[in-house]
């Protein structure tokens, strides 16, 4: 059967990664992967995906961030239950960290296939830029901040930052976890304690964000990969971005450790979150497609597909039983942290899309204006207070 798959992976590295999946499906099954890429971000794609599912004309499979996004669709009985397949194949045994599968579970049943792990607490640094400024490549965030004046003197932008709410929210997230540490962070993000969010501890986060805002003052790109490109070409010192940025370095032929450095947890707290992407399979009528959906689910989580896909995408595989010795420097760092248990829940799992959007809006406003750190913190605290 023709299997229409919608997703929003259209940048260079992403597209290569998707084609690995497509190849696997086309080669290993009798089915045909019909690519339904929608460029833009999830924001563009999600209404399309949801409308299609709601309208009774669903695709065979679709990318969605796992976590709370799909809950209502599952509740409405629009998503295929994969529990039987998962139990037969023993997903519980090899999916690592197990929180990934939890994200796919609703009332004890499994509804999605996690395909990769993405973490967002990375600082990417350009060796070229620091060479130009004549200083050492920093080891953590604070060194980076200290090095900024030198970079500026060299006519460089200290920090590249795409001016979109979600990127700014990522930077904020990375800064908060690195600056205040995991416990305080959990109180706010997981337990939604507005007092902590408005407290003195968290004020440091906002101060750091304000610093970052200064560093990124002259970065006027919008798209994340254009910001990454500034780092790649040595026009900017560094960028806070998710691990997918590595795909861009790879496409540009750069080598981790030689041309660029990656600092998970901004080099401060060695923790990363375990967000990522997952595939859902909407309920369809056609029995052929139904069967094919299960076959496809099984392939997506298979070892070969996981390796091929994640190598291309620069993300971590969801299986703990894969040999990733071929992975590069950064990916190895990530694996090491995972192995050491430095795992955080992803924001998609802890905060609703609504709350996240509000935070994004706040960050967008904060980064683009002269809003004081105190004001921003107060607003943040009130968002946390009303979060559900």
């Amino acid at each position: 059967a023709d299997l229409e798959v919608t997703h929003w992976w259209t940048s260079g590295g992403e597209a290569v990664a998707v084609s690995e999946f497509a190849k696997a499906v086309n080669e290993k099954t009798a089915h045909n992967w019909v690519d339904g890429a929608i460029a833009g971000s999830g924001g563009t794609a999600r209404p399309i995906i949801i409308s299609r599912i709601l309208g009774g004309d669903p695709m065979a499979a679709t990318q969605l961030n796992h976590g709370r996004q799909a809950e209502e669709l599952i509740e409405a009985g629009l998503m295929t239950d994969l529990t039987d397949l998962a139990e037969a194949e023993g997903w519980k045994d090899f999916v690592y960290p197990s929180s990934l599968l939890e994200g796919c579970t609703y009332e004890g049943r499994i509804y999605c296939v996690p395909v990769n792990i993405h973490s967002t607490q990375w600082l990417w640094l350009s060796h070229d830029a620091f060479e130009q400024a004549g200083i050492e490549v920093p080891k953590d965030w604070f060194e980076f901040v200290a090095a900024a004046p030198k970079l500026e003197e060299a006519g460089l932008v200290p920090m590249a930052q795409g001016q979109q709410g979600w990127q700014q929210a990522i930077a904020f997230g990375a800064l908060s976890i690195s600056v205040v540490g995991i416990d305080t962070w959990s109180k706010v993000v997981v337990e939604k304690d507005a007092d902590v969010a408005g407290g003195p501890e968290y004020a440091k986060v906002f101060q750091a964000s304000a610093n970052a805002r200064e560093l990124a003052r002259n970065s006027n790109v919008q798209d994340w990969n254009l910001a990454t490109n500034m780092v790649i070409t040595g026009k900017a010192g560094g960028q806070i971005m998710g691990d997918w940025a590595q795909g861009e370095f790879a496409v540009a032929g750069q080598v981790a450790g030689e041309d660029y450095t990656c600092l998970p947890g901004l080099g401060l707290n060695q923790v990363i979150d375990t967000g990522g992407d997952a595939f859902y399979f909407p309920v369809v009528d056609d029995p052929d497609v139904k069967a094919a959906q299960l076959e496809m689910a099984s392939i997506l989580i298979s070892k070969e597909a996981q390796v091929a896909f994640n190598l291309a995408k620069g993300s971590l595989p969801v299986r703990g039983d894969i040999d990733l010795s071929t992975a590069n420097d950064c990916m190895q760092k990530g694996l090491a942290i995972l192995a050491a248990g430095g795992v955080l829940p992803n924001a998609d799992q802890t905060l609703s899309a609504d709350t996240q959007t509000q935070i994004k809006d706040l960050m967008a406003e904060f980064w683009a204006s002269d809003m004081t750190a105190e004001d921003a913190q107060a607003r943040y605290a009130s968002i946390i207070a009303s979060a559900d």
């Binding site: 259209t10 940048s11 399309i48």
Partner: protein, 305 residues
């Protein structure tokens, strides 16, 4: 007679004679054409930039001056935009979308214009109790942002089983084209002499007879306007095209969005511009060809009321 033929001698050669001398460079002309040319620059600039950029290679673009003409003209970006640009794993550019757009455009055009013209005709010549109320609702409907109607439309389409089919999309275009088109047709038919309608009634033509045999053949100008507006609207539509179709039937604009927003490494501005121009080609050509008819039709349909 005597007076008329005996000009007062001597006076005939005095003073100015014939047409008033007009300098081509009069203050009025300088002001007039100067303003027009200046404004023209504003209007032509983007088109110029798009064309010029689409003919440059990426290295040349990186040099920075977007207004400079291409040093070396290359059609590579056009070829790429049409046939090679990638979205996800499909690398066949806009070409696929073109056919789809045409397939969407033609039935949408026919259905939406037919229905709107019949509406306009009924509203102009066959008023019935409440017809104006429905019309007022339609006009207010023209102000509703389409996006808020997405969900209700999804539900309606699901209920009538057209979700995901081409006809669902055609229906959506018909519905959202209806307010402004109905207004145009109604105004136009109202401006036709009412006596013509009466004569046809006396001649025994009924609702459809009058419409097809009398009104329709007289409505070319307004049909042209309606067609131009709809071609523009439907061809340029992205939102409905992406939501109410599937990947195989994605229209050109969706393809364009994919190409433009699929940033791979660096933005290939030249390809983007070429893709943009290619996508806009159909409505552009229509405007360039039928500008005069458009003005005439607007005069007939939009201005009288």
């Amino acid at each position: 007679m005597v007076d008329a033929t005996s000009p007062t001698a001597g006076r005939i050669l005095e003073g100015p004679r014939g047409s008033k001398p007009k300098s081509r460079l009069s203050r009025r002309n300088i002001f007039l054409y100067g303003t027009l040319l200046l404004v023209s620059i504003y209007y032509l600039l983007p088109l110029y930039v798009m064309i010029v950029t689409s003919l440059k290679g990426m290295p040349e673009i990186r040099l920075g001056n977007i207004f400079a003409p291409p040093v070396e003209i290359t059609f590579e970006p056009w070829v790429k935009a049409w046939a090679e640009a990638c979205t996800g794993i499909n690398c066949d550019g806009l070409s696929r979308g073109f056919g789809n757009s045409v397939k969407i455009l033609i039935p949408s055009l026919i259905l939406s214009i037919s229905i709107a013209s019949v509406n306009g005709y009924a509203l102009a010549n066959w008023r019935f109790k409440g017809s104006e109320v429905f019309f007022t609702i339609l006009i207010i409907g023209a102000f509703i942002p389409y996006q808020t109607m997405l969900y209700p439309i999804v539900i309606i389409l699901r209920e009538i089983g057209l979700m995901g089919s081409l006809w669902g999309l055609v229906l959506v275009h018909t519905v959202f084209g209806m307010p402004i088109l109905t207004l145009l047709f109604r105004n136009y038919f109202t401006s036709l002499p009412e006596e013509l309608f009466k004569a046809a009634r006396v001649d025994g033509a009924g609702f459809w007879g009058v419409y097809f045999r009398v009104m329709l053949p007289m409505s070319i100008p307004i049909f042209v306007v309606a067609m131009i507006l709809q071609v523009t609207g439907i061809w340029n539509d992205f939102l409905f095209g992406v939501i109410y179709t599937k990947p195989e039937t994605y229209p050109m604009t969706v393809q364009l969005n994919n190409i433009v927003n699929s940033v791979q490494g660096i933005k290939e501005y030249n390809v983007n511009m070429a893709a943009t121009l290619l996508t806009g080609l159909v409505p552009l050509v229509i405007y360039f060809v039928s500008g005069k008819l458009f003005v005439r039709g607007i005069a007939a349909g939009a201005v009288k009321g």
